[in-house]
């Protein structure tokens, strides 16, 4: 048991995470912090094999108490299980140039990499096989899924080597990967989704068609969500270099309407397709995203 759960939880804050040097340490800090903050874990027993008894501690799920043992010994014991899985999970991380934007402590790519590393750490800890695909308008890096303990290190190294790419074309890599999948599994897409929504949704539906569960983490910077600019500025597109001179006060309403429309469309159409959609603000703690994953993971079993 972690003696300082509150200290661990501070690693969920992006401003704190940004100060941690290695991705390995970041992922471990995030996951440990996240798990230590859960008072009652509803996520145990996905796939179980009995391991041992342990004396009941306050906070343990009452449903795990072995009443037979209680009848014999008049003491409360809970059953511990060895977790095992044959789940194959693909982490798809968008490394296009638009992911390089960041108004806070981390860019979207850094935040996404942290999220991917944390998910990988969590999956590896649960014996799930996890793989990584980095893409912009094509697949740039690929690490096949594996559940070996040493695979996590390979995953983290791959993540740390990822650099910003070129333009976004989410649909193309999605279709490539969907065609290559041989068994059902889970696909986690981490992207700012600044692409043609129809193409993106179509690519994700391709996975659903192949029987895979899909979770979409729509990573956006706070500036992109709220457009807080005040001064008249030249806005330069990170990917195309296109410049638009605009007075924020005049264009804010239009922008927010457009952004809300984009988010709403993703949420609506992906939901309709059975795809979990999670909007992630890079200024928010990472546990929101991890919670979304675990909720989705829990429903799968």
């Amino acid at each position: 048991m972690n003696p300082h759960p509150r200290d661990e939880r501070r690693y969920l804050d992006p401003t704190v995470i940004a100060r941690i040097g290695t991705l390995d340490l970041r992922a471990r800090s995030i996951v440990e912090g996240f798990l230590s903050g859960l008072h009652r874990s509803p996520f145990k027993g996905f796939s179980v094999e009995f391991a041992e008894y342990r004396q009941y501690m306050p906070g343990d799920d009452i449903s795990t108490i072995d009443w037979k043992v209680f009848a014999r010994s008049d003491r409360y014991y809970v059953k511990k299980f060895e977790e095992e899985t044959n789940l194959e999970c693909h982490l798809l991380l968008d490394i296009s140039r638009s992911m390089g934007y960041g108004s806070g402590a981390m860019t979207k790519l850094e935040y996404g990499a942290c999220l991917a590393a944390s998910l990988g750490y969590l999956m590896n800890r649960q014996r799930d096989a996890v793989g990584l695909i980095g893409f912009d308008d094509r697949i740039v890096a690929r690490l096949p899924p594996s559940s070996r303990p040493g695979h996590l290190r390979a995953l983290l190294i791959s993540l740390s080597r990822l650099e910003l790419g070129l333009r976004t074309d989410v649909s193309k890599p999605l279709h490539q990967l969907a065609d290559a999948l041989v068994k059902r599994g889970m696909v986690v897409l981490i992207s700012d989704l600044l692409d043609d929504p129809a193409a993106v949704i179509k690519g994700l539906k391709h996975f659903r068609f192949r029987g895979s569960d899909v979770i979409v983490f729509h990573v956006l910077d706070a500036d992109e969500i709220r457009f807080p600019f005040e001064q008249a500025s030249r806005f330069e597109d990170l990917e195309t270099g296109e410049e638009v001179v605009a007075v924020p006060a005049l264009v804010r309403q239009h922008y927010l309407r457009e952004m809300d429309g984009l988010i709403g469309r993703y949420r609506r159409e992906l939901g309709a397709a059975g795809i979990d959609y999670c909007l992630v603000d890079t200024s928010q703690p990472l546990d929101l995203a991890l919670m979304a994953y675990l909720s989705s993971r829990g429903r799968s079993f």
Binding site: K108, D223, Q231, F235, L238, E243, V245, V251, Y255
Partner: protein
């Protein structure tokens, strides 16, 4: 522009700063702020500002910024509308008549009146004319007016006085009367050379013309230029400014009674001393007169006050209440020379009696020397403090009799701290610290001899800000400190004036040091033995003679002083008109004090800069509103 003038036109140059927003406007067609952003495509369809509107807004902003800068420069230049009545009025003529005693020779002043009348009549019909009389001082007898008979009548009433000529005052007063207008000064004078002091120059605005009306000078002048007391009588000095030898008789009068008559003979351009052997009274007034039928009248008699200069009363606060023990050397020094020649009169009281001294005693005393505070009660301290507040001088010798706490309460507000020595230290000497201080300056080269004395004990004195260390000991500690403060002067000597802590009284420099220190303490109040007519204090008639003045504040005693004419005025040497004009500086139109004063007055009355500043703020407020919406 709109009849505007500017008090500080140099600030208008700041209007060139309008180039800054114009250049920026031309260079910065687009905002400098660049934001690298991801979802730019969402801005692409936004209703961006129309270019035409933006250009209009930019030009409006530019105009507002330029206007703000121009108005700011205008406000700082302090604009005003000149008073048209002052600048456009008809030229003024000021007739300035010399009434010094150098115009008192027979027929001279009649000639001066005639020239003055001519000047008045010569002035153009529509021009105001004023009348000024001048000698040591200059007075405007009639302010510029169109009433010529009034001016002519005033000229008839003018009489020569006993003052000396001072052209500078005359020109300044005339220029002041003309003010910001154009005008002419007609100077009716004998062009006496002594009217300019050495190196002195007059000043007139360039728009004021000057005309000289030369009265002329007498052929010669005999004058009694000096009279002083000597053993067995008086001696007068008679000077002959004529071209031929002069003989005559000089008459001595004492207290108005005719006395000895002495013949004299003076060579041309020379002077002789005429002694009068007479048994003169100790006090009273004497005068020596001569006859000079052709020269000036006022310098034919010279006056002398026979009263000897009174010694300066110094009160010493001593332990014994007299001049023994701790005050022995002080008393001996102040009474040196005997009662007849002593510069100071010494008297002493015990500290306990200071508070009961009558008011007349305090009014008579010039300075107080405080040697001891033992027994000085609160009444005494308050009496001493009041004496200083009224302008009296206080010399504190920090010796064995001084208590630091009493001293601190006595000099509250001036003294910071004094620590008395408990034992003898290594012998120290006295060194002047401030060569410019009047005490040290009066000692001159002899000040170096102060170092001969040896000081075994000295008090540690804290010198407050503003205090002047006049002398210091050889270890750098302050020795003689003058403390600042309102009222009279306070000197603090950081050792005693006896021989207990030092051997200073045994050295020859003790006496001059003490004399200069006490003389400095009462210096500003030392009354002069005599005055020139032009320098008499307020309340004394500006006429030659012997007058009685109060000797001290509230004491009731009087002293006689002689008032005589300035002997420089007795010299009839003259300037040519060109020499006279060469001594006058012509000021530029805008630089005259009068014009400047009028401009300041107009500007202060109108306060147009306030309106300009309010406009600046308004324009800036509009600019900020427009700029918030501008690209």
């Amino acid at each position: 522009m709109f009849g505007l003038s500017f008090l500080v036109p140099g600030f208008l140059a700041a209007a060139a700063a309008v180039a800054v927003p114009i250049v920026l406007h031309l260079l910065r067609r687009h905002p400098d702020v660049r934001v690298r952003f991801a979802p730019v495509r969402m801005l692409r369809q936004a209703p961006l500002e129309q270019a035409r509107h933006r250009r209009l807004r930019e030009w409006l902003l530019l105009a507002l910024r330029v206007a703000a800068l121009l108005l700011l420069a205008l406000a700082f230049a302090r604009p005003y509308v000149p008073d048209a009545s002052a600048s456009s009025a008809a030229p003024v003529t000021i007739v300035a008549v010399d009434t010094s005693f150098s115009l008192s020779a027979p027929g001279q002043f009649a000639r001066a009146r005639q020239l003055a009348r001519q000047a008045v009549r010569r002035a153009a019909g529509g021009q105001p004319v004023g009348l000024e009389r001048f000698a040591d001082r200059a007075d405007l007898v009639v302010a510029p007016t169109m009433d010529r008979p009034q001016v002519l009548a005033a000229i008839d009433r003018l009489r020569p006085g006993a003052g000396a000529t001072r052209y500078q005052n005359a020109l300044a007063r005339a220029a002041g009367a003309i003010g910001a207008r154009r005008g002419t000064v007609v100077l009716v004078t004998d062009l006496q050379a002594s009217g300019w002091d050495a190196g002195e120059r007059g000043a007139l605005p360039g728009r004021v013309a000057i005309e000289l009306a030369d009265v002329g000078a007498p052929k010669g002048n005999l004058a009694v230029v000096d009279l002083r007391r000597q053993e067995g009588g008086v001696v007068a000095t008679v000077r002959n400014e004529g071209s031929g030898a002069a003989t005559g008789q000089a008459r001595l009068t004492v207290d108005g009674r005719p006395g000895v008559v002495q013949p004299f003979s003076v060579p041309p351009g020379g002077a002789v001393q005429v002694p009068f052997a007479a048994a003169l009274p100790e006090t009273g007034a004497a005068a020596v007169s001569i006859d000079d039928p052709t020269g000036y009248v006022a310098d034919n008699t010279r006056f002398l006050a026979l009263d000897p200069p009174a010694p300066m009363p110094v009160l010493a606060v001593t332990a014994s209440g007299g001049g023994s023990a701790d005050a022995f050397y002080l008393a001996q020094a102040l009474q040196a020379g005997g009662a007849a020649e002593a510069r100071f009169s010494f008297h002493a009281v015990r500290p306990s009696a200071v508070g009961t001294l009558p008011a007349g005693e305090w009014a008579r005393d010039r300075a107080v020397v405080l040697l001891t505070t033992q027994g000085l009660d609160s009444n005494g301290r308050e009496a001493l403090a009041a004496f200083v507040r009224r302008g009296g001088g206080l010399f504190v010798a920090v010796g064995p009799g001084i208590d630091a706490d009493v001293l601190r309460s006595l000099l509250a507000g001036r003294l910071l701290d004094v620590t008395l020595p408990s034992a003898d230290g290594p012998p120290l000497s006295l060194v002047p610290a401030d060569a410019r201080h009047p005490i040290v300056a009066a000692l001159g080269a002899a000040a170096a001899n102060l170092g001969v004395a040896r000081f075994r004990r000295v008090a540690q004195v804290t010198v407050p800000a503003g205090a002047d260390v006049v002398a210091q000991f050889s270890n750098g500690a302050p020795a003689l400190v003058e403390y600042p403060g309102a009222g009279g002067r306070v000197l603090l000597f950081a050792s005693d004036l006896g021989d207990r802590w030092n051997d200073f009284p045994l050295h020859p420099m003790f006496l001059p040091f003490l004399y200069e220190a006490l003389g400095y303490l009462s210096g500003p109040r030392q009354a002069p033995a005599g005055y020139f007519v032009g320098d008499v204090p307020p309340g004394v008639p500006a006429a030659p003679g012997v007058v009685s003045l109060p000797a001290g504040r509230g004491s009731g005693a009087v002293r006689r002083v002689a008032v005589n004419v300035d002997p420089r005025e007795s010299d009839p040497a003259r300037l040519t008109a060109s020499e006279f004009r060469a001594a006058i500086v012509r000021l530029k139109e805008a630089g005259t004090a009068e014009a400047q004063a009028a401009a300041v007055s107009d500007e202060a009355r109108q306060n147009l800069w306030w309106y300009a500043l309010v406009l600046v703020l308004t324009v800036l407020a509009i600019e900020s509103v427009v700029a918030r919406r501008a690209v």
